[in-house]
Subunit: 333 residues, 3 copies
């Protein structure tokens, strides 16, 4: 495809030779002649120019280049639009591996692909175009809607519900018992964990993340939310739509999170609090109370980010000027 045709596809503006043939897409590290790559800033542009790429997708304000450029508003987005145009996922053929164990009472849709050593228990319902890869276990009465993709070694406990187009990476566990106990006279009793997990449309969950079933209500992950690897979502948590939760975060029991929330890696939220919409929580923060919509917080404990940064600056200043301080305090008393 020629540069001018690609530019049309993403409403871009070409600078340089319109007619070069583009044969592939690649990152700037691996770009070879005939490739389209992208650069989001000056530094990356320099690297891209040194590569063998034939054309660079970049933003509208960056300097000119000796290579052909396509200028767009969001180069990364345009890159993925081009990628998706030429890489529509092919439907797998309908297939149940002979080493899979599928209950007679399970209902299996059309064009479903089930790998070796998959176990699907009684009453499960598997929608159309679902892929369940090797060594995954789907327990009783799970509902898996169309276009879901379950990678190897995943476990779904009974009654888990996945809506359309949910992706679960390897080692994910959905629906295990929440950490609910009652202490009485030095003994610990397990509290019933009877709810389920509901994962809405277009959610993607990273490897080895765990999502516990509700105790008496349900745990819910809102549509479009993306959760990275090794996160913990406790019982009864409700997460809104389009959250981005980075790796190793933990959300404690019964906490409610609004829409469009972002959490940096290794952050944690205590139980039974409410996080508003459009909240951003910095990496490694310890959230110990509710947060209003639109706030940006960071720190241990988490506070508005400006406040945390100011505290850090003050402590640095105090440490630097400690001699003066401590002397005066002692002297004058």
């Amino acid at each position: 495809m020629k540069i001018k045709e690609l530019a049309q596809l993403i409403e871009g503006f070409v600078e340089g030779d319109n007619d070069i043939d583009i044969k592939g897409l690649s990152g700037i590290e691996k770009a070879k002649s005939g490739d389209l790559t992208f650069a989001i800033d000056e530094d990356k542009l320099k690297v891209a120019e040194r590569s063998n790429a034939s054309c660079i997708l970049t933003n509208r304000t960056i300097r000119k280049s000796s290579k052909a450029l396509i200028r767009v508003t969001n180069p990364k987005l345009s890159f993925l639009i081009i990628y998706n145009t030429f890489n529509t996922p092919k439907d797998r053929e309908s297939f149940i591996h002979p080493m899979a164990t599928v209950s007679n009472s399970a209902r299996i849709g059309r064009n479903v692909w089930i790998g070796p050593n998959v176990s699907i228990e009684e009453g499960a319902e598997i929608g159309d175009h679902v892929i369940i890869e090797s060594n995954s276990s789907i327990k009783k009465n799970c509902e898996i809607d169309s276009f879901c993709h379950i990678y190897p070694n995943v476990t779904l406990y009974e009654n888990t519900k996945l809506q359309k187009n949910v992706t679960l990476h390897s080692g994910v566990v959905v629906g295990s018992d929440g950490f609910g106990y009652v202490k009485d006279k030095g003994k610990i009793y397990k509290f019933p964990q009877l709810g389920r997990v509901i994962i809405e449309d277009d959610v993607e969950i990273g490897s080895n993340t765990t999502i516990d079933r509700g105790s008496l209500s349900d745990t819910v992950i809102g549509a479009g939310t993306k959760i990275d690897n090794l996160c913990q979502i406790a019982h009864n948590v409700k997460i809104g739509k389009n959250a981005l939760i980075a790796a190793q975060c933990g959300i404690s029991g019964s906490t409610v999170i609004g829409d469009n929330v972002t959490m940096g890696g290794q952050a944690g939220i205590v139980d039974n609090v409410t996080i508003g919409n459009d909240v951003t929580i910095g990496a490694k923060s310890a959230v110990i109370g509710s947060i209003k919509s639109g706030e940006i917080v960071w720190g241990v404990p988490a506070r508005p980010i400006a406040q945390t940064k100011r505290q850090m600056a003050v402590l640095s200043w105090l440490t630097k000027n400690f001699e003066i301080f401590s002397k005066k305090t002692k002297k004058e008393d």
Copy 2:
């Protein structure tokens, strides 16, 4: 069952209509007519009153209600006593799935249920009434005592010992090699990891938690202890009885923990320290030394909680009054 009969069962005191028939139990979110629910404070009582529940289990001091109440000392405990009365777990029938691989030298008890694709290696001993679900791997010479429940995709390394009534949720790994290396002249040598893991009676371990085998001694998890999801228990760690360890905690090598210890989520303890009995460690704490029995600690690094809170208050005060401070310091020198 009538309200008065339930009240008898839990030694509760009824307020309102004694004779209503209770048909089910539920949380306040999902309660319908005929259900018993519970409320532990005023806020929850209001929600419960707005629900269709026919009876509310609550404490002895809360206000009266238009709905029938059963007053008890610990409503959550009483709720679970009622639940357990009507939900005794049924014994599964003795069953070994044809797709399971069980070594001829393994000893299997009575009423054992083994799911598809389970692998049980040479010399393993499986007690009575044990459940091992699909895709779990039990390596050589493991001992699993009666009434243990192993969920799907669990791995037990060789020689792991589970005493009675241990529950392991999906993705748990018990007995993997500890992180023990010796550095010499820039090279890293693996130190032998020869110990085993012993998990005592009534322990429950959350999904994807990892417990390493001892290097030369054993790793031990004491009776009644409950560990949440995604925790790391390193080699040679000894944990006492009835600990409650929340999600994503890490306990480093050879650390010894007493009885009745509580750890909040994402807390960590360094290696080779001793934590006494009845210690409480706040969420996200970094414990960098031994702790005496009975202490409550919090923070990074962890200190007695009052001290950590006071430090935070002082730093807030200093930040607020920073202008005055910094001016004076500069002026007077």
Copy 3:
């Protein structure tokens, strides 16, 4: 073997009876008569003397003992040299379990052991002397070089490359999609994750650790590096040689780490930074910028360790002297 023969093997100096027969090795906790144990300091020496051990391996400067000693420079290293001398791993016989599913197009080397319910997909190449244990899944076109050991319930995504002698413990996931999304007008689009993971020689990866494939470049783990349980290595990360990364660490996308780096447990590094060679990062640190070679950092955020410790000391001093401070500030204004 006699003490004098063992001493020769490790270039040690014997103090006491040269001729005692040593029949086994053990830690000081479990040592019985005829055993060799080791003690790295005075405290451990006392424990070793109270044990039934017949000989103690210790350093060159420690006091004399009533028991036979072998003095060496690094007792732990010498202990493992003796251990390895008498415990060379035996080659397993060539074996493919009938319950394994191996693609016809996969190439399997000599003396390969493949357990039950292993799935090996199209185009995979398995080198000589490789062990792949039960319930592991190896996806398309993976390359596994000789002497690799894959424990149960591991997943390798397509195109993953393991070089020689790599050990992956149970539940490890290598090659899953990185957390790469582009936001546009409130919608979240998945960015293509097309790279692979390359794990070089002699790497060991702990249970349930996750390593994501590169997005457009590759994720690389350098030769000799050891990673503990439950760590997260994000897309495009490059880790140098001989790193020691303790449990529950997280390394964010595209970060580059030099050789001989050490990370304490639960530490995290942000994305797109560069960590030099020989850097030490203390437990639970939050690394928010690049670090030069040779530095030792600690804290949230991470700074040179002396600076973090001084800040903590200053804050403690301020808290203790707060009364004086706050009074004076108020008085004088």
